[in-house]
């Protein structure tokens, strides 16, 4: 219980600081809007084709906007050596990591929930019947992005080319989670029923989340402390 309490203290600190400054969420949201605008030039936004690629577009927006949040996650602690203070605090590496993950997860979900209606308005997408399932996909897919992104954010925090390194390292890693999320989101946004074969993608998402959460919690101490 103490484990979760300390992790939540880290997450609450991050979220409180974000509520006060709003710098990451504003940057991430405006970047997401820019990507949504750019998509309208890449293909005909009024065509029926949009339904077939809607899941892909949506998750590209989430993945790109998410990188901005994840990049700042540990980088914001560099000022005044706050990262050293956090590492020296009673919170273990795993608690620190879980706290950071939860903070990023909430922020990314807020950006996604704001983007979803804007995406629907811009590209004439009707509210899907199975909205709850779409939210479930968002919860699972976003946790995958967050858990890998937060660990790699910790790995790259002190690097010269941090902003470039993080996306080039995490996107290939995220392929299984992104594939599952894109596949399921496309079906759900189009309003089609999920076939038995599609259920496997839920298992892929849950498996991906579980494996990398356990692996990250086990290895984060090595990444942060050595």
């Amino acid at each position: 219980m103490n484990f979760l309490r300390l992790a939540w203290a880290v997450a609450a600190k991050d979220l409180r600081s974000e509520v006060r400054s709003k710098e990451t969420i504003n940057a991430s949201l405006s970047f997401a809007l820019v990507i949504l605008l750019l998509f309208s030039f890449a293909f005909d936004p009024d065509s029926e084709q949009i339904r077939e690629i809607s899941g892909g577009l949506l998750w590209l927006v989430f993945a790109f906007a998410g990188t901005l949040i994840l990049n700042r996650s540990f980088a914001r602690e560099l000022v005044n050596d706050c990262l050293d203070a956090l590492i020296a605090s009673p919170a273990s590496g795993a608690q620190l990591f879980l706290g950071k993950c939860l903070g990023n997860y909430v922020l990314l979900l807020i950006v996604e929930c704001l983007c979803l209606p804007i995406f629907a308005v811009f590209y004439n997408i009707r509210v899907p019947r199975s909205l709850a399932l779409l939210f479930l996909v968002m919860l699972l897919g976003t946790w995958g992005i967050t858990v890998i992104g937060t660990l790699f954010s910790a790995m790259t925090v002190n690097l010269r080319l941090r902003e470039i390194m993080l996306p080039s390292l995490i996107y290939p890693m995220l392929i299984p989670a992104l594939m599952g999320s894109i596949h399921l989101s496309t079906i759900l946004i189009a309003g089609d029923p999920l076939a038995a074969d599609d259920q496997i993608w839920f298992r892929v998402l849950v498996g991906f989340d579980l494996i990398f959460t356990i692996l990250s919690l086990g290895l984060v101490e090595i990444v942060l402390v050595g």
């Binding site: 002190n158 690097l159 390292l169 290939p172 890693m173 392929i175 990398f212 090595i222 050595g226």
Partner: protein, 227 residues
């Protein structure tokens, strides 16, 4: 001692490669449907297997570094991953040439091609990460973690992309229940795998020597700067 190993392995690998080239070009007949171009499999498949063995050897060396904190394990991990990336590149290029002739296209987003390309990108990231870190122990630590993540992810990427329809030919080796090849045509694949594996070992050992020397030069440079 290490020099002798390099020398022996180089000679063996060179001789075996020459013998394999003789067998595959002069003794093995053209394939009924594909013609002469099928011979690309003798380099494509062994390169792919060598690279995957190398990537996993790199992961185990990374784990060994994390357990023992001995930089020799890191030097091995870095060298073997670098060499494996070269073999992975050879696999992609040879596959692409074969695809152009047989399929009529250089590339298709088939599951094996996609997952192999994802794997290639991960290890490109591995080398980028190593170049971006100057401090040897931090570099060893973080690249070991990345290597573990990459090796676990390769399996997930492979399985998840496999559920999409595939265009790549099915297993052809009898050990993978493929059995689509005549034994006489299949044997050179294993001989070339041995030759390429020995070549990879030679290159890894040579690269390890360079890594060790580089570390010594860096420490001497730091020592010189201290005065």
């Amino acid at each position: 001692m290490r020099l002798k190993i390099i020398l022996v392995l180089s000679v063996l690998s060179g001789a075996l490669l020459a013998w394999n080239l003789h067998t595959m070009f002069l003794n093995v007949p053209d394939e009924a449907n594909q013609g002469a171009v099928f011979r690309i499999i003798y380099f494509h498949v062994p390169s792919a297997i060598t690279s995957m063995i190398g990537f996993y050897a790199g992961m185990f060396a990374g784990i060994a570094y994390l357990a023992r904190k001995d930089l020799r394990f890191d030097a091995f991990a870095a060298s073997v991953n670098e060499v494996s990336l070269v073999f992975a590149t050879i696999t992609l290029i040879t596959g692409s040439i074969w695809g152009r002739i047989i399929w009529g296209i250089w590339w298709t987003w088939d599951y094996r091609l996609t997952s192999y390309f994802v794997c290639w990108l991960m290890y490109l990231g591995y080398l980028m990460l190593r170049r971006a870190i100057d401090e040897p122990t931090t570099r060893a630590r973080l690249s070991a973690v990345l290597s573990i993540f990459a090796c676990v992810d390769i399996v997930l990427v492979w399985k998840s992309i496999e559920w999409y329809r595939t265009q790549h030919p099915g297993p052809v080796l009898s050990i993978r229940n493929g059995g689509g090849m005549a034994p006489g045509m299949e044997a050179p694949i294993y001989w070339n795998l041995l030759a390429l594996a020995m070549l990879a070992a030679v290159l890894t050992i040579m690269r390890m020597r360079q890594q060790t020397m580089q570390r010594e030069i860096d420490s001497l440079r730091r020592y010189a700067h201290a005065f």
